[in-house]
C-alpha cells in the first residue's frame, strides 16, 4: 500500500510534490495504522484530482481546447450552410449544391476566407486559454517568506 501511495504522490504536479511529497509520505508512515492506509490512499486520490483539475490550471487548457472544438464545429455548420451557396453565386451554377458536390468544386476565395477566419478564431481562443494558464502558474510561484521570530 505504501508503494501505491508513493505512486499517487509521484503523479501529483511537480511543484506540489517537491513542496509536500516527503511530508505526506512521512504522515502516511505515521498514520497508516491509526487512520487506515485505504482511507489515506483515497484521500490521496481526491487530492490528485483536485491538484490537476483545480489548482494546476489544466482545466483552462481543457476549456480552451473544448471552446476551440465548439468554434470549429460551429464553423463547419456555418460553412455547410453558407459556404456552398456563396460558391454557387460566384460560379453561377444553378444546380443545388450539397457538401458532397461542394467537396469536388474548386477552392474559392470565400471558402478560403471562411476557413482562415475559423482557424484564426480557434487559435485566438487557445492562445487566450494558454495565457490565462501561464498567468496562474506564474502567480503560484511566489517566493515563500520565512517568519523570523
Amino acid at each position: 500500500m505504501r508503494t501505491f501511495y508513493r505512486c499517487l504522490l509521484w503523479l501529483h504536479p511537480p511543484s506540489f510534490r517537491r513542496q509536500f511529497g516527503d511530508e505526506m509520505l512521512w504522515i502516511f508512515d505515521q498514520a497508516a495504522n491509526t487512520q487506515g492506509a485505504l482511507a489515506i490512499c483515497s484521500d490521496g486520490l481526491a487530492s490528485l484530482a483536485r491538484q490537476w483539475l483545480l489548482r494546476s490550471g489544466c482545466w483552462k487548457v481543457v476549456a480552451a481546447i473544448l471552446l476551440a472544438l465548439v468554434q470549429v464545429s460551429l464553423g463547419g455548420v456555418a460553412l455547410s450552410r453558407v459556404g456552398p451557396r456563396s460558391m454557387v453565386r460566384l460560379t453561377g451554377d444553378p444546380r443545388p449544391v450539397t457538401l458532397a458536390t461542394a467537396a469536388h468544386q474548386a477552392v474559392t476565395v470565400p471558402f478560403v476566407m471562411y476557413l482562415a477566419l475559423f482557424v484564426l478564431g480557434g487559435l485566438l481562443l487557445m492562445i487566450l486559454g494558454l495565457g490565462l494558464w501561464v498567468k496562474s502558474v506564474s502567480a503560484r510561484r511566489r517566493p515563500v517568506v520565512l517568519r523570523v521570530r
Binding site: 513542496q19 511530508e23 505526506m24 512521512w26 504522515i27 487530492s47 520565512l146
Partner: protein, 116 residues
C-alpha cells in the same frame, strides 16, 4: 485602517479547522491533523492530501506561512506552519460570522413554527 477580510469568507470546513489548529501554536502537518481531530472530538478528520492541498492554498493567500523548525533534534522531513497576522484576522472574522449564524439559528429554533 481596517483590513477587508470578506473576499476570504466563508472559509471551507477544512480551511477553518486548519486555521483553528494553528491559532494556538505552530505545528507540523501531522500535528495539524491530530489537532483537528482533537478539536472536533473525532468528528472531523482530514487526510494528508486534503491537508496539504488546503495548506498550499492558504499559503498562497498568505494566511499561513512556513515557520522555522523549533526543536533541533526533530525529524528533518517535518516542516512547521503558523498563522500570519492576516490569517489570524481572517479567522477572527470567520468566527464572528459563525457566531452571528449560530445566534440567528438559536433564535429561529426557539421560536414556535408559524404556519403560513
Amino acid at each position: 485602517m481596517t483590513e477587508d477580510f470578506s473576499p476570504f469568507l466563508p472559509l471551507s470546513p477544512a480551511a477553518l479547522h486548519i486555521l483553528l489548529s494553528l491559532a494556538g501554536e505552530d505545528r507540523h502537518g501531522y500535528g495539524i491533523m491530530q489537532e483537528v481531530a482533537r478539536q472536533s472530538e473525532g468528528q472531523y478528520k482530514i487526510g494528508p492530501g486534503t491537508l496539504y492541498d488546503n495548506l498550499q492554498k492558504l499559503m498562497t493567500q498568505s494566511l499561513v506561512e512556513e515557520s522555522r523548525r523549533p526543536p533541533a533534534h526533530d525529524d528533518p522531513r517535518r516542516r512547521y506552519y503558523g498563522l500570519t497576522s492576516f490569517g489570524r484576522g481572517v479567522l477572527s472574522a470567520e468566527v464572528s460570522r459563525l457566531e452571528t449564524v449560530v445566534r440567528e439559528a438559536r433564535v429561529h429554533l426557539r421560536a414556535p413554527r408559524r404556519v403560513t
